[in-house]
């Protein structure tokens, strides 16, 4: 298959699914090895940077997804009733930062960093699909452990969790 066709198929597949599709799945469907495919996708990502395009490809945890260009959001807002923004309070953002860096983490560990109860924030973050339960801690009460989701990565423009900005040294 020539490279133009491969690019066309990738665009088509990402468009149809709407959800992230992994490099592995794409490689199986296209019968192209993952390394070659990754290079082609990176080229394709560059193609989309062209000012004539209104959509782009984002990478999240080794999967790829199509989304609209954020800089054109004002037009989307004009056409559609503005989609509810993520709307996180400062307290929720603080809670989210703590979870992002210290995951997996329990509620009481979050509370102790913030100095206040975080129940409401955690509920809100779960509701917004920013965090999820990732397990239970061994020990009394087996408290729930929280971690971040792929939605979190997407909304904060991170390919994976290691791309988080560095935490300023507080020692």
């Amino acid at each position: 298959m020539d490279i133009r066709k491969i690019k066309a198929v990738i665009e088509c597949l990402l468009f149809v699914t709407g959800d992230p599709v992994s490099l592995k799945e794409l490689s199986i469907v296209l019968e192209v090895d993952q390394n070659t495919l990754r290079k082609i996708i990176n080229q394709l990502i560059d193609d989309y940077n062209d000012s004539i395009r209104g959509i782009k490809i984002i990478e999240i945890n080794g999967s790829y997804q199509l989304c609209s260009k954020p800089e054109l959001y004002e037009y989307v807002e004009k056409l559609l009733k503005p989609k509810a923004k993520t709307g996180l309070s400062q307290a929720s953002l603080e809670t989210l930062s703590i979870i992002a860096y210290k995951q997996p983490i329990t509620k009481s560990a979050i509370d102790s960093v913030r100095g206040v109860k975080s129940d409401a924030c955690i509920t809100r973050l779960l509701e917004k699909d920013m965090i999820k339960e990732v397990g239970r801690m061994e020990g009394p009460g087996r408290p729930i452990l929280y971690g971040t989701t792929d939605t979190f990565l997407r909304l904060f423009g991170l390919k994976n969790i290691s791309e988080l900005p560095p935490l300023k040294d507080f020692e």
Binding site: F15, V16, T17, G18, D19, K56, I58, Q65, L66, C67, S68, K69, P70, E71, Y73, V76, K83, K85, T86, L88, Q90, A91, L93, E94, L96, S97, I98, A100, Y101, S112, V113, R114, G115, V116, K117, D119, T123, L126, E127, R154, L155, F156, G157, L158, P165, L167, K168, D169, F170, E171
Partner: protein, 238 residues
């Protein structure tokens, strides 16, 4: 004459402390603990005089500050080579700095969010439509449905527990349940108690169902029987 008080609301004791430290323009590593403690307690008193409920964490911090203050007043123990004389403020400062680091980070994240949340994705309706157009296999395991349904219930339950209120069957009452049970029994002679409970969407509804059965027994509308331990409980009309 009216007095205008600009009241700042603090999310928690750390925020209040930061505010006081910044206002006093002091070094965070060398907090004048007596002054700051007094200011902190004054603030709490003011809030209380205005009848503003304070989270218990504010009071816990007040106690911590008083404890540190009293330790600072104690005469320094003579130098001992074995035990390092630690600053009673050390732990508090460490926590404050950690909190501050996360607070700063949250502003960076907020900035990232404000850009990237404007990149919108497409829903997966198109893929669902295509998948649903595929032909069905000859046979499917019922377990798949059970699993799906239980997952939905679990999700709902956990949201309910977090105080989202009920999402389904609003405002159901014991009286509704009584009517429902009597209606079933008007056409069926008997019914299984298990089925009534299984039909419930959450714990609250199960409890209401149970109360309805008890009430109906009391009103002598129904009676229940069980032939032996662990057998199904049968509900009959009187």
């Amino acid at each position: 004459m009216s007095i205008n008080i600009k009241l700042e609301v603090f999310e928690g004791p750390f925020e209040l402390l930061f505010h006081l430290i910044e206002k006093a323009k002091v070094d965070i590593y060398d907090i004048p603990i007596a002054d700051i403690t007094d200011q902190y307690i004054n603030y709490l008193k003011m809030m209380q005089s205005l009848d503003i409920d304070l989270a218990s964490e504010f009071l816990v911090m007040a106690a911590t500050l008083l404890e540190i203050k009293s330790k600072m007043l104690l005469p320094k123990a003579p130098k001992n080579d074995e035990i390092e004389d630690s600053d009673p403020r050390e732990e508090l400062v460490k926590k404050l700095l950690e909190y501050k680091a996360f607070k700063e980070l949250s502003f960076v994240l907020k900035e990232k969010l404000s850009i990237n949340e404007k990149a919108l994705c497409k829903d997966s309706n198109l893929a669902d439509e295509i998948i649903d157009s595929f032909t069905l296999p000859d046979k499917l395991s019922i377990e798949i449905l059970l699993e799906k349904f239980q997952m939905l219930m679990k999700k709902r339950e956990s949201f309910n527990n977090r105080g989202f209120g009920k999402i389904y069957r609003d405002n159901i009452t014991v009286e509704d349940k009584i009517t429902q049970i009597l209606k079933i029994l008007s056409s069926a002679r008997v019914l299984y108690f298990d089925d009534l409970i299984l039909d419930c969407i959450n714990k609250l509804e199960a409890i209401l169902t149970f109360l309805a059965v008890l009430e109906l027994i009391k009103r002598r509308k129904i009676y229940v029987e069980q032939s032996s331990n662990f057998d199904k409980i049968i509900v009959r009309r009187r």
